[in-house]
Symmetry: C2
Subunit: 436 residues, 2 copies
């Protein structure tokens, strides 16, 4: 049985208890939201050591970090180092998107080493395998895809991105409408190109029940990919994107009915003023299934800073209902991220998620900020550094510029507003005391 | 006459023409919004070389960068270097907040060297002068303050922050209500401490007409400071903050009536879900005067990353009506920023402003993004780098990791989605052609 099936039957599992404890909510809340399809617990039955992680309504916004080799940059040691950095800096999940080197071996090592859920995009491996066989994309078969998916399930992958919504219909919608930047999703473009070349239907759509059977077997959560996600601001919220979202809603319902856990992926590049609306329409069309967004990036003009364009969009998206943020690194649009960019990407994405959690009133979120405010009022620098999301960085920065007086910083020195007010209010208390 | 006075009389000035051209709007739009008090042009009559800069409704969101020495770190060369970096990277205005060394000399050099408007907070200099005289804050007089303000006007400062809204009433509101972090505005804390120590009214409030006369004389824009801005998320949108805002609205009206250009300063630290509402209430209470915000910072727990917490809040604030963003650097809450932090602060704040301009539909904003999208579609890397907000950084990142094929990047290599779709669509066109 899957976690969803247990929830529907009212049976509380150990996984649900652990998620409830982590999230500071009742297990009754967890099971009722799971039974409604609004929370998933990503944990493959074969991934024994993984921490069961709840994603969805009323829970802390989760952060995913993408790692993995590419055809140009392939170093298994570096990928394991990235995994370690992701976990150390608080990523809730990691996707291994390797496309270079011995992909199976890299994934095996990552799944084994990871205490957090691991996601993949099986079509990447399928494509690499086909090319190594000397076949072209056009020759890919449904069997190729399902064979890879089964392998990922067997290996213990906790969630997979599957682009079931790229269909002949959505591709036609795209062609008729036109777009500045067509498709920027890798998996999406592979399926679309396959459909265009073969004039056939997407096997993941046509044989969706076969996919559901595999996912059910391993309790592998399906993450329905948004192959039509906009790749630039001007393509956002167009007919191709929403057409696909409608399909994803219907497919999510079919997964739910077959007791397969499911979440939906979302944009992408998007003007800030369209983000809240996109979160609402996704939740509505997909029966409130958990929403997993990449960005959204609120401008296209900042390569080198896309961890920040994504943090702006991600904070707003999560505050408007998104449950799971896929980080974007500073290297996006330029190169495969290195270890430092991965680390910073996780931290910045966690900042966005936390800001959203405060806005959503998630239990425990604002308490962290209140502790920082108290440390600031007391001019307690050790506490401020300990409470910082990245204490190493805060400490290094402060130490690089020491003030003459230990209780302030070199920005304001003795003109510190907090110190000024602490003194003024203390004097007032003393004055009032004397008057009495 | 001030620019506001000309606008009210329907006289188009050279400054208005230049602003209209820069903003790609008609001069009629500028003059009508100026006459309504919804746009200011910051340009002191004595600052001849400065570019007249429009701030307000319907215009590009502007970015201010704070520079200046502190008591712990004072290096005039470094401050001029910071100014140069600010201008190079697109800051629309710079505030010199120097509190260390020869403040007059630093300001003189900065005003002379700057092509963008310069702002100051005169009470900082007043405080430093008083301490050098051997007096305490309590001994400060109204004359001390007005003497400094006159000096700044004479020197060519284009806008000044004045904390006229810190009054006996607002301070009482603060004391009665209580706060986690009292006052974090430096100028605000000085005025509040002075009021508490002397049990007298704020001279800037009591002798407000004297302030207006000086501002009028130089056409120096008043930026009504928000001394009660929240210093942590839990203090946001409380009675003290809104009480002060009500006063600022009334004071803005008095300035407008006396033909003094005026804008309003705003928070601060603030949960994401309170930002839009704060922009609306400011615009309503202050007759749509331009709104100048510091941040808002959407979480307190990220010292070392406050350029990012501010970019998240700033983008949302500007999209919701704020006209002018004061940057925050990564050094905030830790130390006086150095040159690199200043530079990055400007760039990140410009990203936030630009994202907001797209959302607001500011003329010309989305075109930049569309050009980037076109360059990406063509896999034209030179164009992508040229169009990047920081071409140096984009170039360096790409060059640090070269792909085997020149037209892609090391993230996806030959699995590039854009390339895949370009090929698939080209094949389709060829197929269709053959069929015909």
């Amino acid at each position: 049985m899957t976690q969803l099936e247990y929830a529907k039957k009212g049976i509380i599992t150990e996984e649900m208890r652990r998620v409830a404890a982590d999230e500071k909510v009742t297990v009754e809340f967890i099971i009722s939201k799971m039974a409604a399809g609004e929370i998933v617990i990503t944990k493959n039955k074969n991934h024994s050591k993984v921490k069961p992680t709840g994603i969805g309504a009323g829970l802390k916004t989760k952060v995913n970090a993408n790692i993995g080799s590419s055809q140009d940059v392939c170093d298994i040691k570096m990928e394991l180092e990235k995994l370690e950095l992701c976990v150390k800096h608080g990523a809730d999940a990691v996707m291994d998107l390797s496309t270079g080197g011995d992909i199976r071996e890299i994934r095996k090592k990552i799944v084994e080493a990871s205490p957090v859920p691991i996601g993949t995009v099986p079509i990447y491996q399928t494509m690499v395998d086909i090319k190594r066989d000397g076949r072209g994309l056009k020759e890919m078969t449904g069997d190729d895809l399902f064979k890879t998916i089964e392998e990922h399930g067997e290996q213990g992958v906790d969630f997979i991105t599957v682009h079931c919504g790229i269909t002949k219909n959505t591709v036609n919608e795209l062609l008729q409408q036109g777009r500045l930047l067509n498709i920027v999703s890798r998996g999406g473009s592979m399926h679309a190109a396959w459909i265009l070349n073969n004039e056939k239907e997407n096997p993941l759509f046509e044989q969706y029940d076969r996919l559901l059977d595999i996912a059910y077997k391993y309790d592998m959560t399906l993450s329905l990919g948004d192959g039509m996600r906009p790749g630039c601001l001007s393509d956002a919220t167009d007919r191709a994107q929403i057409h696909e979202l409608i399909s994803l809603g219907a497919l999510a319902k079919r997964a739910y009915d077959k007791n397969v856990q499911v979440m939906i992926e979302g944009p992408g590049h998007m003007p800030l003023n369209q983000i809240a609306m996109n979160m609402q329409i996704q939740k509505k069309l997909c029966n409130n299934a958990p929403f997993y967004v990449l960005g959204p990036l609120v401008t296209d003009i900042a390569p080198g800073y896309d961890h920040i364009t994504a943090a702006i969009g991600g904070a707003l998206a999560a505050a408007s209902g998104a449950d799971f943020l896929c980080y974007v690194t500073a290297a996006e649009h330029l190169k495969l991220p290195g270890a430092e960019e991965v680390k910073e990407g996780v931290i910045v994405s966690r900042i966005a998620a936390h800001a959203a959690d405060i806005a959503k009133g998630i239990p425990g979120a604002i308490e962290w900020d209140n502790k920082m405010a108290e440390a600031r009022k007391k001019l307690d620098w050790d506490a401020q550094i300990k409470l910082a999301i990245n204490p190493e960085r805060a400490k290094k920065m402060r130490e690089s510029s020491r003030p003459a007086a230990e209780d302030v910083c070199t920005m304001c020195g003795e003109l510190c507003a907090i110190k000024e007010m602490n003194t003024a209010l203390q004097n007032r208390v003393l004055d009032n005391h004397k008057k009495k």
